[in-house]
């Protein structure tokens, strides 16, 4: 059981990173971005690409993030921008198209087979009695914790971070007080995408890479975002961990294949009982 919870924290960290970006885009751009999972895959594969060019791992991560952000901003500029006035559903449909586009571009270049960043085998060892992990997994938890602290500092301490929270509260007022909302939108894509790429790379480290890896994560991502109250990054962090732990713990009782269904059922329960999410109720970011 302890081990399952530990696994849940690992998986939950990855979900949390994805869900934060998803919920930020929802809060500021007001649409459910179905391409977010595939952005995670794109980042993971780009890191693979740079690694294959003999770039050291940390630099490969940075490059993957940079390229993914550029892609996200370009897509916003040439596609989503035109639908901002036509309402959230057209944006949603467009994002489904983008999701397929990204996934199949990955398929086109890297093929459908499972690949790994490295062939090296990392042995599990007992971290504390009853819980064993390998060094990657410890790294995932540490990096996620660090990123969450960074996101927190970014939103709380930086000018643009505060402007993002302000824009999520009230876009019109943000314009009135002189906030450059175009810059806010660019930053939203940047932060959301960067976190997604981290999540994608971690998923690749943990489970290897396959083109549909991000798409298959979409349901848990939405479940986490809804659980945390959509539009609220802190909610998404907690929601991600809850979903991750629930999915892993469920494997103690039912087939592992049903992990995504567990997320789905939690999501439906939340929608039935408390549609505004556990931290919802008001529009506050806690």
């Amino acid at each position: 059981m302890l081990q399952l919870i530990a696994n849940g924290i690992i998986f939950g960290s990855i979900i949390a990173l994805g869900a934060i970006g998803l919920t930020m885009v929802y809060g500021i751009l007001k649409f459910a971005n179905f391409a977010h999972g595939d952005t995670m895959s794109l980042g993971a594969y780009l890191a693979l690409l740079f690694l294959s060019l003999q770039v050291p791992f940390p630099i490969a991560v940075v490059l993957a993030i940079a390229v993914s952000i550029a892609v996200a901003i370009l897509i916003d500029h040439y596609l989503y921008r035109f639908f901002r006035t036509t309402g959230p559903i057209i944006l949603l449909i467009a994002s489904v198209g983008v999701a397929l586009f990204l996934r199949n571009v990955i398929l086109l270049f890297w093929g459908p087979d499972l690949t790994y960043y490295s062939r090296a085998i990392h042995l599990d060892f007992e971290v504390i009695p009853g819980i064993s992990m390998n060094s990657y997994e410890i790294g995932i938890i540490i990096v996620t914790a660090a990123l969450i602290v960074l996101v927190h500092l970014f939103l709380k301490k930086t000018r643009i971070g505060k402007a993002m929270r302000a824009s999520s509260d009230n876009m019109d007022l943000a314009e009135v007080v002189g906030i450059d909302t175009r810059r806010v939108i660019i930053w939203t894509w940047s932060v959301g995408t960067a976190l997604a790429v981290f999540g994608g790379i971690m998923l690749g480290l943990e489970n290897g890479l396959r083109p549909p890896m991000g798409w298959q994560l979409l349901l848990p991502l939405f479940a986490a975002a809804i659980l945390g109250g959509i539009g609220q990054p802190y909610g998404a962090m907690v929601g991600g961990l809850i979903i991750g732990i629930a999915q892993e713990v469920s494997t103690g009782f039912i087939s592992t294949a049903y992990k995504p269904a567990v997320a789905f059922i939690i999501m439906i329960l939340v929608l039935l009982i408390r549609p505004q999410g556990i931290f919802g109720g008001s529009k506050r970011w806690i």
């Binding site: 036509t86 449909i93 198209g97 086109l108 087939s255 995504p260 999501m267 439906i268």
Partner: protein, 318 residues
């Protein structure tokens, strides 16, 4: 390919177009009229197909089913079951914003697929169900596919006429009004939850019917068939390209998009096997770009109504 080969390819092609035509018609009730955002088409399609498969196949040792049921009762049960599942999804989601219905429908579709994938006792899991009987096979002495095409045409025309009738009646008028402005429609005394539910259930029943008819034609189904790409996304592209809100547009969209899809498939078949996967990916990329271009350039589709007529503004009456 000789002439008879071409002919049988064409018949096969049209049968699949009819299946998609049904899916597209079902979606048109939900999205085209009521603006219900269902992206779990694959789920209802799968329920229809699997219900028929389990009910009509001969008994089998390693799984449930094999009830040897005739075609028509199985079809009816498949349709009803699809509708029932839509009803269950509608309860928590129809009161909420449209995004939630979207997320819930894709959730149920994936869950259904996982279920059939993993529960081998039910429908053989990943290996799928084969040997689904073809209806009236013993009575047909001529080209069976041609017969099936005729059968499909009967179903498509029947469904088309039925929903055309319903949508052109006051019932359809209410759905259209809900799609435009729920608040006003409620102020006009309409119970909007009831109508949204009816729209969701009826549309999903047609999707279930499409699933059942597909299973009986192909005779083999596996969870692989019900992935979101081919079973949900393509249908959306069909409806949007054809023109949502128009039943003719829904059918035309099915023909055009499946035509393009098959054309790219022919190209895939020509290239060496090594490239087949890549060519497949290329097809999807092409369709995705096609969708975005339609959304940008002609959002109302080929046969769709223009959102607001360009008619000159009428002068204030003096």
């Amino acid at each position: 390919m000789d002439l008879s080969g071409l002919f049988s390819y064409f018949v096969f092609f049209l049968v699949i177009v009819s299946v998609y035509g049904l899916l597209s018609l079902g979606l048109n009730i939900q999205w085209g009229y009521t603006k219900l955002f269902n992206i779990g088409i694959a789920g209802f399609f799968a329920v229809g197909a699997y219900t028929s498969a389990i009910l009509t196949t001969p008994p089998a040792m390693d799984r449930v089913g094999g009830f040897n049921m005739p075609f028509l009762p199985a079809l009816v049960i498949a349709v009803l079951l699809s509708g029932f599942i839509a009803f269950l999804i509608g309860i928590p989601t129809l009161k909420l914003k449209e995004d939630y219905l979207a997320i819930a429908t894709i959730g149920i579709a994936e869950t259904i697929r996982l279920f059939f994938n993993n529960e081998a006792w039910l429908a053989n899991g990943v290996r799928g169900v084969s040997g689904i009987p073809r209806p009236f096979q013993h009575y047909i002495t001529f080209n069976y596919n041609l017969f099936y095409l005729l059968l499909m045409v009967v179903f498509v025309i029947g469904v088309y006429l039925a929903i055309e009738k319903a949508l052109k009646s006051p019932w359809g008028r209410v759905l259209k009004a809900i799609g435009e402005d729920e608040t006003v429609t409620q102020a006009m005394g309409k119970n909007i939850i009831r109508y949204k539910m009816e729209s969701l259930v009826l549309g999903s029943m047609i999707m279930g019917m499409a699933g059942s008819l597909y299973a009986h034609f192909i005779q083999f189904i596996s969870p692989e068939v019900f992935v979101p790409m081919s079973a949900t996304f393509l249908v959306w592209v069909m409806l949007i390209a054809g023109g949502s809100g128009s039943n003719k547009g829904a059918l035309l969209g099915a023909l055009v998009i499946w035509g393009l899809w098959s054309l790219t498939d022919l190209i895939t078949n020509v290239v060496p096997v090594d490239y087949a996967v890549k060519a497949g990916a290329f097809r999807v990329i092409a369709i995705a770009i096609f969708l975005e271009v339609i959304l940008l350039v002609r959002p109302q589709g080929i046969l769709g109504e223009k959102s607001v007529m360009k008619a000159a503004k009428k002068q204030e009456q003096e």
